[in-house]
């Protein structure tokens, strides 16, 4: 029994990666949940919005790098974020003008807007692949220092057999996500515009009677969604890599996260992000190493102690989504 090494192995291979991934999913799910709360439809185009934001950030990163501007040990993409958010916001506001506003004015059923968003998703999907510096191939755009803490240095420091590595991008993800969430909640709880968004989400007719301008609420929502989607996409891309198809597939875990937490509830989206991330990582992780420290070798047999191959990680979010919809459709935090 070697609890300490088991714990470090767990932290290194499960906790740290899942926590970072959870933050990225949470930011993505916050976007989905905000759209649902204010605009009252589930946006299937969200994964592609994230891809668009990321590919914009990659473009600006190249421009910055070409001009010799970097962010020291941190990724240059962080400096490119404001520009990328601006582009994404313009793109989303344009989409709203072209597509969603038409349906909003007609006050159609939410499902119709949702289906329209599937169309938007396909169009965005194509646009993302056509962007010259983007394309369909995998792009690694993380620069700066690779590790905040290296496995070897950790081993030396503690004298343990297992190392704990923390990637710079993971640390950046956690800090950025925390700042974003804090800023978002401050905005929703304390500012007049944020409160008007909540009021509009709560009771549209009464918000109108109170003189709240619905078009302005919608615009502010799209801008916030643009910021959240771009940040989520860039953080994911820094941590892993950018590929439009992968981002499109992120839609499933993000939706699951939003639904698990309760669609429309920002707190729920965050909780849901972590539930999905930890489930995915824990179900697809080969526990042999951790178990090896905890149990005698002859108990373990030859297997890897892996419940599912990583190829099936999508199935995990799908299974959770189904389970939640069957057992508790309103999610953990009472959505709509």
């Amino acid at each position: 029994m070697d609890i300490l090494n088991a714990l470090v192995a767990f932290l290194n291979f499960v906790f740290v990666p899942a926590f970072g991934y959870g933050c990225q999913l949470a930011l993505g799910a916050l976007g989905v949940t905000l759209i649902f709360a204010v605009l009252r439809f589930s946006s299937f185009a969200h994964g592609d919005t994230m891809a668009f934001g990321t590919v914009m950030a990659i473009g600006f990163t190249y421009v910055l790098q070409a001009n010799g501007i970097t962010f020291g040990p941190l990724p240059t993409a962080l400096l490119a974020l404001p520009f990328a958010i601006l582009c994404t916001a313009l793109m989303l506001l344009g989409t709203d003008r072209l597509v969603y506003r038409f349906y909003r004015k007609k006050r159609v059923d939410p499902i119709i807007v949702t289906i329209a968003s599937v169309g938007v998703m396909f169009v965005m999907n194509g646009i993302n692949r056509l962007i010259p510096w983007g394309g369909v191939e995998e792009i690694n755009f993380a620069d700066g220092s690779r590790f905040l803490m290296e496995a070897a240095a950790f081993k030396e420091m503690t004298g343990l057999k297992e190392g704990l590595a923390i990637k710079t991008t993971t640390a950046v993800t956690v800090v950025t996500a925390a700042l974003c969430v804090a800023a978002l909640f401050w905005f929703l709880q304390k500012t007049r515009t944020g409160k008007s968004m909540r009021a509009f989400s709560d009771n549209e007719d009464l918000a109108l009677l109170s003189g709240i301008n619905p078009e302005r609420v919608v615009q502010v929502t799209w801008i916030i969604v643009a910021a959240l989607a771009t940040i989520a996409g860039v953080l994911y891309g820094l941590d892993k890599s950018y590929r439009p198809f992968v981002y499109f597939q992120l839609l499933l875990p993000i939706f699951s996260a939003a639904v698990v937490g309760g669609l429309g509830s920002p707190l729920g989206a965050i909780a849901g992000g972590f539930v999905i991330a930890f489930s995915e990582v824990m179900v697809t992780y080969a526990w042999k190493k951790v178990a090896g420290y905890l149990f005698p070798a002859d108990w373990l047999g030859d297997g890897l102690l892996q419940l599912l191959s990583t190829d099936y990680k999508v199935a995990v979010s799908f299974a959770i989504l189904l389970l939640v919809l069957l057992v508790k459709p309103t999610g953990l935090f009472k959505g709509k």
Binding site: K195, A199, D202, N203, S210
Partner: protein
Amino acid sequence: MAAPFLIGEAMTGGYGPVDILHGCTIAVEKGQIAVIVGPNGAGKSTAMKAVFGMLNLRGGRVLLDGEDITKLTPQARVRKGMGFVPQTSNIFTSMTVEENLEMGAFIREDDIKSTMAQVYDLFPILKQKRHQSAGELSGGQRQQVAVGRALMTQPKVLMLDEPTAGVSPIVMDELFDRIIEVARSGISILMVEQNARQALDIADKGYVLVQGTNRFTDTGQALLADPEVRRSFLGG
């Protein structure tokens, strides 16, 4: 006699192709209480909504302080000084009492603290519960939040659609007392009520509607004394 402060004159119209109101007239003087009563389906709420611009009129007009506002949207009427408390979903349930009041004052750019203090003076229980979510309050307290929210714009005329629906008789009496207090501060009140007897008792003017037309119009007391109104609408 001067023209009334708010008047919906000879209003004809409905939600769809069928007219519900047929030349119905509703008016209220400054600082007075006007009550619309009548049997179910008489078009009481519809008349109120017509005055507030929530349905298209095919005939007649609405005047506020002499200005023709027939073509204005409800939102524009709020800016002109009309407050409206709908019968149902009239509060933001997920928001605190104080946030409900803040949202009521959304169109105001000036300091809203004194108005909020006035609302809290009028409804002391709301001050106690100001940080509580409005959805957790009792029926009567919710109605107070709803009225308070509408008062936050400092309206000149307040329109209430069955403010006492679903509350106990004791709470109803208290709400009526508060409404009288609001009227005394110079705000005109136009309300639709199911509890006809109590409502007419506090009304300066009463309108009895039947099938979308004015059947009786008089002071509240006179209507209460009228044997025909008593027999047909007040249960003897």
